[in-house]
Amino acid sequence: MTFHVRSDRQLIRPIHRSNRFVLVEVAAPPARSERVRPPVNLAFVLDRSGSMGGEKIRLAKQAIEEAIARLHDDDRFAIVVYDDRVDVVVPGTLAGPDARRSALDRLREIDARGSTNLGEGWLRGAEQVARALADEGVNRCLLLTDGLANVGITDRDELARHAGELRARGVSTSTFGVGEDFDEVLLQAMASAGGGHFRFIATAASIRDHVTSEVGETLEIVARGVTLEIGAAEGIRVESLSPYPTTEVRGRTEITLGDLTSEERVEVVLRLNFPYGELGRTTGVALTLSDRDGVVGGDAKLGWAYADNGANDHQQRDYTVDRAVARVFAARARQEAVGRNRHGDFEGARRIIEATARRIRGYAGRDPELRGIVDELERQLQEFAAPMMEIDRKVMYASSSYQMRSRMADGTAMKDPNRGGR
C-alpha cells in the first residue's frame, strides 16, 4: 500500500492569500492469489431502446453473458432491460449453474425497441442489488446505454443525487455510454456520485472489452469505501481539484475515493488557500486515509512557513506536483471547452484553452512534461474553435474525465508502477 503526500512549495506569504497545491498518491495493495474473494452482487442494466438495435445489443448481450460466466456460485446477479418500460429479466439471484443457464436463455430473447426510461431502469437494477446486500463484498449496478434519459426521471442532478444516496447505502453505480448520442455529463455524474466508473465506448466492437474489464476490476476490489480526510489549521481552505465527491464536516474535508481494485493507483490534487499570517509562523494540514475494512490506512502531515516575498519568489518547486496540477487544469479546460463547442460558443471554447495554456506556460520553466501539456493544448486550439464532430467531443470529454480521475486512456484503472502490473 502507498500513501504519499507532497506540496508544490513550502513557503507562503504573510500578507496575501497564498494558494498552494498538494498531491496525494494512493496505491492499493495487490489482491493476494490465495485470497477468497468476497461475493459480489451485481445488476446489469441494459438499454434496449430502438437505437441499440443490431450490433450494439448483440455485443452488449454477449458481454453480459461473459461477465456472468466469470461469477462464482455464491455471487449474485440480476439483469434489467429498459426502453420506455422496465423489465426485470432476471431478478437478483445466486449465480448457480442453473441460474446462469436460465439467464442466458432469457438474455437471448431480448431485442431493441422503444424509447429510454434510463432512470427507472437503473433504479430497478439497483433495487435488485439492494434486496440482498453483500456485507463483505461489492454491490454494484452496471448501466449500459447509447441514449438520453427521455422518459421518467430525466434530470441530471436528480439522478446523480439518487446515485450518491444509493452509494451511501451500499449500492454503487458504474455507467457505460455507447456511440455518440448518450449524455456523457449525466453518465459521468451518476458514476462519480455513485462511487463507480464511467466508461465511454466509441464503437460497438469494444463493448465487450469495456464491460469485461469493469467487471474484472469489480471482482478484484481490495479496498472498499476509501476516504481521504483532511483536517486543516484555522483559516486554511481546502478544495479538491480532482473531481471526487467531497463533504465538509466540522471543519474537516472528507473526499470519497470509492472502491479501489488490486494495485490501483489514484492521485488527488488539492488546492489550499492560506490566511494572512505572521512572518516565521508555521501552519499545516493533517491527512488520514482509511477504508471500511482497514486494508489501506495511514496518516500524513504537511507544513508551511510564512516567509518574506523574496524567499517565496526563490523557493524550490516540486515539479511532480506542478505536473499533476497542470494535468487536472488542462483536463478541466478541455471538458469546459467541449461544452462550449457543443453550445456553438467556439470563441469561448478557444479562450478557455488559450488561458489555461498561458497559465501553465507561466510556471512550466524548462520542464518537458509541463511544456508538453502546453503544446498539446495549443495544438487543440483550432479544433475547439470550430464545430467538432460529436464523436470527437465524446472522445475528448471521456479522455479528460479519465485523466482527472487517475484512469488510463482506455478508462481502465491505473496500476501502481512500482509493481509492474499484471
Binding site: S102, D105, R124, A126, R292
Partner: protein, 212 residues
C-alpha cells in the same frame, strides 16, 4: 457478574470474523482499546469482542469508519454489550431498498410475485432458486407491479404514450474561487452570453491570486 473471558488475537479473529490486520488497524485508529501489553502473549477481553461486533454491525449500515468511531468511542463496555445483544434492526430505516422504493413511489416489485413469475417463465431449465436471504419485513404486496416481466404480453401491443420533448436547457456551475460559484442556465442568448463571459473573466482576475 461472570468473570471476564480472555481471548488471544486468533480467538478474536475467529469470533469476530475479521483479519488480524483489521484488529491492529482498529486499535491504531482508536476504534478498539489497546490490549495493554504487546507481543505474542497479548490477551483481549469481552470488551474487545463486543466492540468488534458492534463495529461490524454499524458497518453493515454502511457508516464510514470515522462516524463509527465517534459513535462507539464514548460508550462504556456495558452499553456496548447491551447494544450487541439487542436484535438488529434490519433493514435499517434508511436502507437502499427503502430509498429506491421512496423514489419510485412505493410501487416497487413485490418480492413474491416477481419470484413466482420468473420461476414459471424459466421452467424448461428448472427454477433458479429463491434469493438466498430475502430481506425480512417486506410484506407481499398484491398490487399490480409497475412493470411486466419479459414474457410475451399483450401489453406490448399498445404503443407507448408519446414522450414529452426533453428540456435541453441546463444549469452550469462555474467555480470562480474556492468559496465562490456562479450558476448559469444555458443556452443563453448571444448578448447575455458575452456578458457572462466578461463577468467570469473579471471574477477570475479578482479572485484568483497567486495561482501557479
Amino acid at each position: 457478574m461472570p468473570p471476564e473471558s480472555e481471548y488471544s488475537l486468533q480467538d478474536l479473529v475467529d469470533l469476530g470474523g475479521v483479519t488480524p490486520r483489521t484488529i491492529r488497524y482498529y486499535i491504531a485508529q482508536g476504534l478498539l482499546p489497546s490490549p495493554g501489553k504487546a507481543g505474542p502473549g497479548t490477551t483481549y477481553t469481552d470488551g474487545h469482542l463486543n466492540r468488534l461486533r458492534l463495529i461490524k454491525r454499524l458497518q453493515r449500515e454502511h457508516l464510514p469508519l470515522a462516524e463509527i468511531r465517534s459513535r462507539v468511542a464514548s460508550l462504556d463496555d456495558a452499553t456496548v454489550a447491551a447494544l450487541v445483544e439487542a436484535p438488529p434492526s434490519e433493514p435499517p430505516a434508511g436502507s437502499a431498498i427503502d430509498y429506491i422504493r421512496g423514489v419510485l413511489g412505493g410501487d416497487s416489485s413485490p418480492d413474491g410475485m416477481l419470484w413466482n413469475a420468473t420461476a414459471a417463465a424459466s421452467s424448461p431449465s428448472g427454477p433458479i432458486g429463491p434469493p438466498a436471504s430475502p430481506p425480512p419485513g417486506n410484506a407481499i404486496d398484491l398490487r399490480e407491479p409497475a412493470y411486466r416481466l419479459a414474457e410475451p404480453s399483450p401489453a406490448y401491443a399498445e404503443p407507448p404514450a408519446p414522450t414529452p420533448a426533453p428540456d435541453r436547457s441546463q444549469w452550469d456551475r462555474i467555480l470562480l474561487a474556492p468559496d465562490v460559484e456562479l450558476h448559469v442556465r444555458r443556452p443563453l442568448g448571444r448578448r447575455a452570453h458575452k456578458r457572462v463571459e466578461r463577468l467570469i473573466e473579471i471574477a477570475h482576475e479578482l479572485l484568483e491570486e497567486d495561482q501557479p
